[in-house]
Assembly symmetry: D2
Homo-oligomer: 344 residues x 4
């Protein structure tokens, strides 16, 4: 029973099938091929806009190439203190930007709070060369706490960014989970809400390794293609990443896979929340369940073969754990988890 991460699971069948199909014959390398173009058009269709799409192999690459394109070395990037780009990328954004500053901003349940963004911005005096200058805000959708920004919440943050000429970046490592939850048009929760550039993630959703940087205004891509090459992220046989993205977006596959993961997380959340001494730390709106439970219960689950991350050290007999579901988490595992938990 593996609830450690959505990264732990393999690859979805439609994506594997697409890879096998793409393996035959020859075609131009470095993204000049027909499959990469088909994928680009797929993004345009899904997002109802002519967008620029650049496939890469990792989420860190997507985030940092995107941010570096819109933030010079003397810039500052504002993100939630739990953001992947701040907490889990070993300072990659600073590396790609040649030393821009990430500014940690708070907010409940993993979401940037507009008033805290404003407070953080106030620390940076415009035009003062001793201070990095604000260039970008980065939000994560779904958030690192398993919650989902509404389009209105995004629009409020975009308004702050755009009022100062800043760019709004969205880290969409779990964008499919967010969109499956929201149920709205993908455009409504991205560019129509003010997102300028997005890291679109497919790996956690069922791909082998496929992410993309999407500029909603292609002109904003600027020198992106050189940055990607210079950082070693231009794939020679790009069609194999394009094939994954294409299959993922085709016929709503991405939303179906994510919807399944979300449903399993909800089921876990509901099942556990009923138990005595158990409380949900954050609303469960995507595929992650952050739950505070008695240490004894956590130990029992582990003894029963449930694998998960301890999120905070235990305190006063309780511990905060994270359970993640994926496109491939067996339903039976969820049921078994719940029966183990209630049998305690």
């Amino acid at each position: 029973m593996d609830f450690t991460s959505d990264n732990a699971f393999g690859a979805a069948a439609p994506i594997l099938d697409a890879l096998v199909a793409a393996a035959a014959g020859s075609s131009p390398s470095y993204g000049e091929d027909a499959l990469t173009e088909r994928m680009r058009r797929r993004f345009c269709d899904v997002f109802e806009k002519d967008v620029a799409v650049f496939p890469v192999a990792t989420g860190t690459a997507a985030n940092c190439l995107a941010l570096a394109t819109v933030t010079p070395a003397h810039g500052a990037i504002f993100c939630h203190e739990s953001a992947h780009v701040e907490e889990d990328e070993c300072g990659a954004a600073e590396f790609f930007t040649h030393g821009a500053k990430l500014v940690r901003v708070g907010g409940a349940h993993g979401k940037l709070a507009p008033n805290e963004i404003e407070a953080a911005l106030a620390r940076f005096r415009p035009g003062f060369v001793h201070h990095p200058q604000p260039f970008a805000i980065s939000i994560t959708q779904a958030t690192e706490s398993g919650t989902v920004y509404t389009p209105d919440e995004i629009a409020a943050i975009a308004a702050i960014a755009h009022a100062r000429g800043m760019t709004l970046h969205l880290d969409g490592a779990r964008i499919a989970n967010a969109m499956a939850r929201l149920g709205c048009a993908p455009a409504d929760a991205t560019w129509r809400a003010g997102v300028d550039v997005m890291s679109f993630g497919a790996t956690k959703g069922g791909a082998l390794g496929a992410e993309a940087v999407v500029f909603f205004d292609p002109a904003m891509a600027g020198d992106f293609v050189y940055r990607r090459k210079k950082a070693g992220h231009l794939l020679s046989k790009m069609r194999f990443v394009a094939a994954q993205l294409d299959a993922y977006l085709r016929d709503g596959t991405w939303l179906a896979l994510a919807g399944r993961a979300n449903a399993l997380a909800s089921r876990i959340a509901e099942g556990l929340a009923r138990l005595p001494g158990v409380s949900l730390e954050h609303p469960v709106e995507a595929n992650e369940v952050f739950v505070r439970l008695p240490v004894r219960l956590a130990e029992k689950l582990r003894a029963d073969g449930v694998r998960f991350h301890e999120w905070e050290p235990a305190r006063e007999g309780h511990v905060l754990i994270r359970l993640v579901t994926s496109f491939a988490t067996p339903e039976a595992d969820v049921e078994r988890l719940l029966s183990c938990a209630s049998a305690s």
Copy 2:
């Protein structure tokens, strides 16, 4: 008839099979999985040594992460003036090293000439802070001219490097073609000849996208794992790259695929060299044919549907072109190419 590049071809069946097999179930991410460990042991077996192996998705990443690990910002890296790292990576080595200097060195047929290395080294005064300091020599095997260093030739270069405390790096984007040609033990043409760190390429050889940095002395890897992460090259579902490398090395698959490509290149070289006005620019020792031929013949081939790269602008009625074969180039295409050529 596609002879543009080995990158143009898709993926070999054993590698695809391995991917599909790896897609089931769950396993730890970021390389902590059993498949990645199996791949590592496979490298140790093939190279008869306990080595450190780090999979990445591109050859540029492999080259530049390897070079940056052994070269500080104030270092100089000596390579052939045709080397991929110098000519085709948009300055990635400079980016990863934070500004080390690549020094272009000559030598016939794509091979570094020891006396030219010595001459280049003489320009850099040891301990003189105004000069970058020599830290690494990088050779390419097979070379960018389709030739292959013998173990003795490598040893002569290694001797120069090691006499000055420098590291010898080998860019093995086409290492399989070289090994298939040499027929010796892989160890003999790498670490036993003095190579310290290797970029091992599988993508051109039949993988979808799989390269690895191999440190023959694991202690030399130093902070490699942080560099890889910080540059966005740590793959979350690393098992999918490990699976490719594992299948590639298993049962001599890499050598069989490369041997096939080499044989086709030899066939082309022999066939063309017989024609009037045609001459081979370099010995054909791997899977690339550099051939100088009448412009008319080149035009005829193109009209007949043969695709290739013009390597130098035409001059005095002749043009230098490059023809590349791969694991998947149809034999029929080779025969058709030759009959087109001789029918002119």
Copy 3:
């Protein structure tokens, strides 16, 4: 009446005299000259240790070259949230280190609180490639709040650093003010207390532009000389910076100049603290006075020609201002300031 900054004042006579004396004749450039060696020995004498000393022209250069020498790109540097290197250098440390992360740590009156350092360190998992790794702690002496660490306080922080193999850096832009206050041997408040590397500032103390990086263990300097050159901080006529440092340290000039500035600050603090509605924000231990006073009083001072920095926006009728004294602040200005204030 200029109390804006110690940077606002010019240069002390002994330093100017030394410059003029150094201007005659010829001598080796880039620090190979006798004057630079004399300066080095002066540092060794003053700090009772064989140290490595590298003059540079700015404090930002000193801080960031020092920190980059001891912190790789994947490192983290812990400093007070008010530290110059974090707040006033436009992300220079990130630039010089190629993207290390500065971690903001709290503590009263500008001093790092050991328990807050421990809490910040706990966020970084050792050996976990997704996290930057702790490499250095940087303290500022005198602090940005005008307070002074005691040797014992420094030793407590050094103990935390050294227990984890981290380096302790001291930003000594106002080290003279601190030493004048402490009255102990310079060695006692630096290397004997555990400081490994120091940015020694003379500019604020009366030089035209002279700072030095001092490694208390010369072996720790590593590749510093290359970093300095590569960043454009190796001065060709280095003797002119060496001359300033040499004159500054000779015969206790540095302490005499700083002692004068400290005394003027104390006089201001005492005079203002007596007035109704006025309170000192921090103990006044060096040459800076942070004082909270009625907005009306601040406005009156300004109208009377007193210049100072407003440190925080006014709130509830009071405002926090900063007054800085220097080696050259006229005593008459201090008395005038106090009589203006008490006449309100």
Copy 4:
């Protein structure tokens, strides 16, 4: 008898006087002061144009900050193979630009040959992401061979640069020597000939340490001020560098000092060229004499106390040496040198 470098000499009297005058009182820091503004206007007057001027402490800083402002990481900078920025700055340009590539171009007597620039440019395919893209050409005036570009020669190079949208940078570490030689208006040999940005050097000419980046079109300065700060090159007491530059440019002091150095070099060149077995390597147009002479003569000079740089290892009984004169080289030393030489 010191002919090693113009860097070996101290400081000219008018510059020292200006420093002493600037040392009194207080004024805004970081370049907001009246003296810095006066210096800026002085540049505007001398160059007959409204220019942006940024003082820094070293020539490497001036060159690399200028080049980095006009060249992104994926850019290429074309310079003479003897250029200081390529040969003597330890890869600083690569550091400041985050990895741009310097391209070595040949040309007789230290001057870039237009046809060699064109040949070098031809190696870089426009828009091809695998290649760095040409962004700047850098020339050195006077050159590293002691020659001087005429305005027409500069214009020819500018034409190549501007035809491709590239920027023309001039490294003017010895701009005064060149202008003193040319005798034309400074504008004629800079912006009117097509120079876009200049590193203006005063240190070699008689300052203690004073250089400036001059953008002839202030709009081109872009984010220069942030780059300067982030690299630690913003001087807090900037007025002391401004004072040097102001005094240097005032009343033609720069040209008078350089003219004197040039005249001494000419005197040496004429005197030595008359001797048997002695030949000038380059025309002597500024303050450097490159002379090939019998090894015996070189040894005699050294034995007589003449200090100089051996420029190339001796070969066939002759050796190439460099003799540099400065604003402060004693005339008597020149005469003594010549009599030593002719007495051999």
